[in-house]
Amino acid sequence: MHITVTEIEKSYATVNAVRGVSFTINTGEIFALLGPNGAGKSSIIRMLVGMTRPDRGTIAITHQQAHYDHVPRRYLGYLPEDRGLYPDKSVEKNLLYLAQLHGLSKAQAQLEMNHWLEIFDLTERRKEDLKQLSKGNQQKVQLIAAVIHKPALVILDEPFSGLDPINQEKVVEFLKTLRTKGMTVILSAHQMAMVEKLADRMLLMAKGQMVLAGTLLDIKQQAQPKPVVVIETQQAVTAAELAILLPDYTVSMQSEHRFSMTLPSTAMLSTCLQTLLREFTVQSVSMQNPDLHQLYLTAMSAHQQEEIA
């Protein structure tokens, strides 16, 4: 399923939720929508699902030579931001109901359900009411409900929320499995570490606008983060001492002997070290490779400054 979104805009009563956003998603890709709360991720997802329509701009979806302006229900697996199933019904009944609504026969639904329950270690709990399960396990049931009918496109709004690190890893594996099965996946998330492991391409948003887009490499190039250097000293140092010594640098203490420093540019490193060596014995110096989280923070801060300007 190939998706091209061009300059879409969406406003609600007093909020411009999405402002001129464009992106493309290729078949079999994992595409991540990133951004703080209120960035417009869920609004974009609702437009893709067809729950709302863009005020301006277009959504063009191509699947098996057919064209659509939103994802047809039969090809869609959806995990909404506001999720919930029937808490007073068993895991099995919830899944079979939704699978049959998706068009599966009871036998097919049973087969698919067994397969996914096995993967998520929920086979033993299939007869239990949903409300008896932990939040994490309920989340897993919801994920199964989104993919049980083998859709061409899976849209997951915050799939990692409410999960512990072990289950977050399981979801990462689950999403990779979906990709190997040829499904296209769109997800929105705050967990940058997870997205970094998964996403083929991503879109960073803030206040309804596109901030950065592309692969992780593209984003690194676009974000141009300031270099971060990690320094270890023989003597103990304090933040106050460093603030006096290096007033123009952003310093973050990691321990008494270790701190990181954000430099305006790599060229400033030697000047900075010379100043430090006058007061302390430096044991090691290493450059830190910015992860997606840092890129995200850098991009957001730059966007905020642009907005103010």
């Binding site: 609600y12 009563a13 699902v49 729950m51 709302t52 229900r73 869609l76 959806y78 909404p80 931001e81 506001d82 999720r83 919930g84 199933l85 029937y86 808490p87 019904k89 109901y97 939704l98 049959q100 609504l101 998706h102 068009g103 919801q142 409900a145």
Partner: protein, 393 residues
């Protein structure tokens, strides 16, 4: 016309509130309660017993099936002693200056019947004293026969068994609507609060969803109507067969009228369920919304019909039986009590079918638009605008 998805939703909704074990237990309890009431009535019925009554020697009162009037030779004081100490007498009647006095150990229900028997005896005695003949006395004691004759040949009469059937249908409709009201409100607003709605929207269209809901809960309402009728019928059957010696009054049932009542009642339930679903779909939070009460408007056709039930040929009943929003309650009553040309119920039924179709589309539209308003409840103006729009999705 109805999709597979709607049928799956309908089945789910129907079974969601169908707890057969609890239902079975509740029906058994209902039957037991009815049995206990009938048995208790039978046990405490004093009219089947015989009572010995001591009366003064000159009384010529005749015995009845219940009362044996005896003229003892012992004194009144002795009779009263016997009344208190043994079961010789159930009552002792004496004559005093103030009038007749009935002495008994304690007040009981059968004594009212004794009073009536004595009253009739003394009325006869006064008549004889006035020189009336026994034939004149008999004439005076007979009730006056008043017969109502109606010139309108289409009016079947007020005391026909069909009226009881029509009233029973109104009662059953009330049960059905109450069931649908509770379940639809809980089901639709509950799903919204449990956040299932957005998930379902990605799977089925709003129209399929609302069709399934309406059908499922209408079936629930019909099941409640059917089972209540069945339990009541079984109760009456048991009472008639075991507690009374009368045969079952099958001949009173007009099957032709019942055949008309059923489609009107079923379509009425569907219509009201569509309306209730539309209103429920516009409610964001049932705890703070005042819209839930509006769903009870569906009871008004029953009330309006009941208020004009004694004037089935009047303009009120005629208007109600043609209006598609009230015909499901009024036309069956009119059919039961007035002879109508065949095309009248047929046309009324067709109008009702059209109304049900329109209302289900309205419910679908309101649900779709209500879903698109996040965290905000639509105003009545919004709801009216959506109801009148043509957009489905």
């Amino acid at each position: 016309m109805i999709s597979r998805q709607s049928l799956i939703v309908a089945k789910w909704e129907f079974l969601r509130f169908f707890k057969w074990k609890q239902q079975l237990i509740s029906y058994v309890i209902m039957l037991v309660i009815m049995g206990v009431i009938f048995t208790w009535q039978f046990l405490v019925d004093e009219s089947r017993d015989e009572y010995r009554i001591a009366v003064p020697g000159h009384f010529t009162i005749e015995n009845t099936a219940q009362f044996q009037f005896q003229r003892p030779s012992v004194s009144v004081d002795e009779q009263l002693k016997q009344l208190m100490t043994s079961e010789t007498w159930h009552a002792v009647v004496t004559e005093e200056e103030s009038g007749i006095v009935v002495h008994t150990a304690a007040g009981k229900k059968w004594q009212q019947l004794l009073e009536q028997a004595l009253e009739q005896y003394f009325r006869q005695q006064y008549g004889l004293a006035q020189g009336l003949t026994p034939a004149q006395l008999l004439r005076l004691s007979e009730p006056v026969s008043i017969e109502m004759r109606f010139l309108d040949e289409d009016y079947k009469g007020d005391d026909r068994p069909e009226k009881a059937i029509a009233l029973a249908v109104l009662f059953m409709l009330l049960i059905g609507l109450t069931t649908a009201f509770g379940q639809l409100l809980m089901s639709i607003t509950g799903e919204k609060q449990q956040r299932v709605t957005e998930q379902l929207y990605a799977i089925v269209t709003p129209q399929q969803w609302i069709d399934g809901k309406v059908l499922g809960h209408s079936l629930s309402a019909m099941k409640a109507m059917f089972t209540t009728s069945l339990v009541m019928f079984v109760g009456i059957l048991v009472a008639v067969l075991f507690l009374s010696d009368k045969p079952l009054p099958w001949h009173l049932i007009n099957w032709g009228v019942i055949a008309w009542l059923v489609p009107f009642a079923l379509l009425g339930i569907l219509l009201c369920a569509c309306f209730m679903a539309a209103i429920a779909a516009s409610i964001d939070d049932p705890n703070t919304s005042g819209k839930g009460a509006v769903m009870m408007i569906t009871w008004l056709p029953l009330l309006f019909t009941y208020l004009v039930i004694d004037s089935p040929t009047g303009w009120g009943m005629t208007v109600l039986s043609w209006l598609p929003i009230t015909s499901f309650a009024a036309m069956p009553v009119r059919l039961a009590m007035v002879e109508l040309a065949w095309w009248q119920p047929v046309l009324s039924l067709l109008l009702l079918v059209a109304m049900v179709y329109w209302m289900r589309r309205v419910a679908g539209r309101i649900f779709l638009r209500g879903m698109q308003m996040y965290g905000k409840e639509p105003s009545w103006a919004d709801i009216m605008r959506w109801a009148m729009s043509r957009k489905i999705e």
